[in-house]
């Protein structure tokens, strides 16, 4: 398959489908399988770019989540199970805090439950990391509807500022060492904060000036009435969505209707705003069958796991088995590793 960028929306749908699966299953084998599938696809289809290195950060974050969850589980977890591993000194709590325990007997079951709950979060993080390193944030921005474009730019600039701040922190810390000043401790951090913020702010201002001279934010003539209409639509839409969500959670029947109407109003507002910008797109990423395949396998994996998983952990623990439907669907989500076009190599000439 000749190389091209896969539509970033396809990668996000794929990753969120897998992520949804991870939040619904408590089967450690299935969780491991989802993480493996996500990792496999990232390894196969990750482009050579700075932002694509985000994956390893997310993996580290995921491992951290598991460790933290297990520690919390040991100290604060519900005392269940019979296979005692060791006993922690327990702290007696007043009666009004009944139900909360600190310390006490630590059982293998408790550790296992904490591990599974941590793994759910960890696999979700891995899926989000996969989307982040597969789909270019800038290309995702290009795929946004015109009305959301300006908000999207602000979000992307904010996201790109984080790594820039990290680079600035490193530079300033190196400079501090060269001045013979301590580079560790609270005092060092507070003294470094000023130059770091100053240089990051300079970066942001330079970027804003450059974008301004390149036509960012140019609007066509807007009638005052139209602006008021758009504001009303978006505001009413958001209120509708909020009330609708509230009602849905409270299991009221009319909640769904309110939610749909609110969304429609908000989308209308965005469409009206979209007409103000004369923006066009240079070589937009097309949506062809590989996009459908990637997004489809992701959604399918999410749906299959949703159907077959119970989402609860029962004690005593039993060795998990792999449910046929969910396993097949999750395995199918690895297909994009080969059946999508590879990303363009940075040094290719065509």
């Amino acid at each position: 398959m000749s190389s091209r960028w896969l539509h970033p929306g396809a990668w996000w749908v794929w990753a969120l489908g897998l992520g949804a699966a991870a939040t619904r299953t408590t089967n450690p084998l299935l969780l491991g399988l989802i993480a493996a599938v996500a990792t496999l696809v990232v390894m196969a289809r990750r482009p050579q770019a700075q932002w694509a290195r985000a994956f390893s950060v997310f993996v580290r974050l995921a491992l951290f989540a598991i460790v933290i969850r297990i520690l919390f589980g040991i100290v604060f977890g519900l005392r269940v199970g019979t296979t005692t591993l060791f006993t922690l000194p327990s702290i007696g709590l007043p009666e009004w805090m009944a139900g909360v325990t600190i310390g006490g007997v630590v059982t293998a079951e408790m550790v296992a439950i904490a591990f599974i709950q941590g793994a759910q979060l960890a696999v979700l993080l891995i899926c989000v990391g996969a989307a982040n390193s597969l789909a270019s944030p800038v290309r995702l921005l290009k795929a946004l509807p015109a009305g959301l474009y300006h908000v999207g730019v602000a979000a992307v600039v904010a996201l790109s500022l984080a790594p820039r701040i990290m680079i600035n922190v490193r530079r300033v810390m190196q400079a501090r060492r060269l001045r013979g000043r301590p580079t560790r401790g609270l005092r060092a951090m507070s003294e470094a904060a000023v130059p770091v913020l100053e240089s990051s702010l300079d970066d942001a201002i330079n970027l804003a000036a450059a974008m301004d001279t390149r036509g960012y934010g140019r609007t066509t003539a807007v009638r005052p009435g139209e602006r008021a209409l758009q504001a009303t639509l978006v505001l009413a839409g958001l209120v509708g969505i909020a009330l609708g969500l509230f009602a849905v959670l409270g299991a009221s029947g009319w909640g769904w209707a309110l939610l749909v109407i609110g969304m429609a109003l908000a989308v209308g507002g965005i469409l009206v705003a979209g007409r103000w910008t004369a923006r066009t797109r240079y070589r937009p990423d097309p949506w062809r069958w590989p996009e459908t395949l990637a997004a489809g396998t992701g959604v399918l994996a999410g749906a299959a796991v949703l159907l077959s998983a119970t989402g609860t952990i029962t004690v005593p623990l039993t060795w998990p088995t792999l449910p046929l439907l969910a396993t097949t669907a999750v395995l199918a989500a690895a297909l994009p590793a080969t059946f999508t076009p590879p990303p363009p190599m940075p040094w290719s000439t065509a």
């Binding site: 800038v138 060269l178 130059p195 970027l207 001279t213 040094w347």
Partner: protein, 526 residues
């Protein structure tokens, strides 16, 4: 094409105007060079043309600026985007996308060009600026010269009538600068674009200019380049040579000077010796540094000697900064050894470090962490355990006047450099490392700076200067190390190094070759 009428501009809170009573008319299709001493308002003038002044910067503007028939009072920068293309001082800071092709299309997208027009314009621009091979490269993998050409291309695709360039070659090595200037010249010739450019490195650009605007002249006007250069403090070496020898008309290019200098080349010349250096203060042995899969330094063997100024040269990305970082102990080498004063620099901290190594990074403001020059100097005295006022004395020794309550970031480039040196030299270190110190310095600033380095070397310090500026190296260098692709390709005395390669030859050397003359002073002694 550009009309500036009675323009006076004052920054918010400033005591006086930066630009005062400016009246100019720039005709279509000219390449106009804006010159003047550091801080005379060159960037402000350029931003006047694209509307950033006053729409983005604030401040008070009186008078009228009209670009291609559009008044900047009533048109914001984004409305002028199709008429004025802007390339800022640091192209990387202004990139809004992540690949070359997308960057080229960005302005057209904002202005709503039809997809097929965009596609055609991008292809044309790729060809025109020689970027075809780079079209899908992520912008952060490009070299400095390539980034500059992409930024120019990105400003061009929307078909502007005016191109505004702020210091387009200052950060570039000589070869990359030539590429960029050749591209700019082609635009002026082929597309009749009006180019307004500010540049400190006059030796690179003066010969291409149709007109020169001296912003620090009492009345700034459009001048003929040769007239503007006569009796002006900012003369590049070749003009200074012509001036010193009383040539008329003044030569602006090496070629013109070479024609006049035929009889000089047959004179005998005994090259004055430069410092050879004494004891070895720092050394790298078989040093290698890798970033990921790439070698930043390979098997480097370098000794730095006391009482010598060594210039570290080479293309952008050749490993100069890495070598500096290894010597300063910021980066541990992956292979080989590094010793400064017999110690591993990476293990040095605090007083041990500042009494041995002074390092001024590319951006000196990294070193500052207080809000005034006085506070910065006081902190330095405390750290180095010296009587109060020592750092300030050193600073006042380096620059004539500096207000002590100024914020370090508001100082001019030359003053920032001076403050950084005043701080870093506190504990009398004998290794002085300077990364691209002459960026943003004009000729008088460079001459003053070269005198400080001279003095440091004569006091027994070993000075290592990473730089692209061959004229500066000709002025102050004793020895030149050239890096290419992480390897040392030249390590020789300055005269041998600068006379053996045309890429690194200073202007005077090009004029008087084969005589090994490097500076105007040496040429005048013929």
């Amino acid at each position: 094409m550009i009309k500036v009428e009675d323009v006076t501009f004052t920054h918010d809170g400033a005591a006086g105007p930066v630009l005062d009573g400016l009246n100019l008319q720039i005709p279509e299709g000219d390449l106009v060079l804006v010159i003047g001493r550091t801080g005379c308002g060159k960037s402000t003038f350029l931003n006047l043309l694209n509307g950033l002044v006053p729409h983005f910067t604030g401040g008070t503007l009186a008078g009228r600026v009209e670009v291609a028939g559009m008044d900047t009072r009533t048109h914001a920068p984004r409305d002028l985007a199709g008429v004025v293309g802007t390339v800022g001082q640091n192209p990387r800071a202004g990139f809004t996308t992540d690949t070359v092709e997308d960057e080229l299309a960005y302005t057209m997208e904002s202005l709503g060009y039809a997809p097929d027009v965009m596609r055609r314009r991008v292809e044309e621009t790729l060809d025109m600026l020689g970027l075809v091979a780079l079209r899908q490269r992520p912008l952060d993998t490009l070299s400095g010269g390539e980034q500059q050409r992409v930024a120019i291309g990105a400003a061009l695709t929307s078909g502007p009538a005016v191109l505004v360039l702020d210091e387009p070659t200052s950060a570039l090595d000589p070869t990359a600068a030539e590429e960029v200037l050749a591209a700019i010249q082609r635009l002026v010739h082929d597309l009749a674009i009006t180019v307004v450019m500010a540049e400190h490195r006059l030796e690179r650009v003066i010969e291409f200019a149709d007109h020169v605007i001296r912003l620090d002249a009492p009345i700034a006007t459009l001048q003929d380049p040769a007239d503007a250069m006569a009796g002006h403090g900012l003369q590049p070496p070749v003009v200074r040579l012509g001036h010193a020898l009383g040539w008329d008309p003044l030569p602006l290019s090496v070629r013109a000077a070479r024609r006049r200098a035929a009889d000089l080349r047959s004179l005998p010349f005994s090259a004055p010796a430069r410092r050879t250096g004494a004891a070895v203060l720092a050394s790298l042995a078989h040093t290698g540094v890798r970033y990921g899969r790439e070698d930043a330094l390979r098997d480097v063997e370098v000794d730095l000697r006391a009482g010598q100024v060594t210039a570290l040269m080479g293309r952008n990305g050749a490993g100069k900064s890495t070598l500096m970082n290894v010597l300063a102990g910021t980066r541990r080498p992956d292979l080989g050894r590094v010793a400064v004063d017999g110690r591993d620099p990476a293990t040095l901290q605090g007083g041990d470090l500042i009494s041995r190594i002074a390092y001024v990074p590319q951006d000196p403001t990294d070193l500052f962490y207080t809000d005034s020059v006085a506070a910065e100097c006081a902190a330095t005295d405390r750290d180095a355990g010296q009587p109060a006022g020592s750092a300030l004395n050193r600073l006042q020794d380096l620059v004539d006047t500096v207000a002590v309550d100024t914020h370090p970031r508001d100082l001019s480039a030359g003053q920032q450099l001076a403050l950084a040196l005043a701080i870093q030299l506190a504990a009398t270190p004998r290794i002085v490392l300077l990364d691209e110190p002459t960026r943003g310095l004009d000729y008088p600033g460079k001459v003053a700076f070269s005198r400080w380095l001279d003095r440091l070397a004569n006091l027994g310090a070993s000075v290592l200067v990473a730089t692209h500026d061959v004229e500066f190296v000709a002025l102050v260098g004793d020895r030149v190390i050239v890096l290419a692709d992480g390897e040392v390709v030249t390590d020789a005395d300055v005269r041998t190094a600068l006379t053996s390669s045309p890429a690194f030859a200073p202007q005077i050397q090009k004029v008087l070759s084969p005589l090994p003359v490097l500076t105007v002073e040496e040429a005048c002694s013929l």
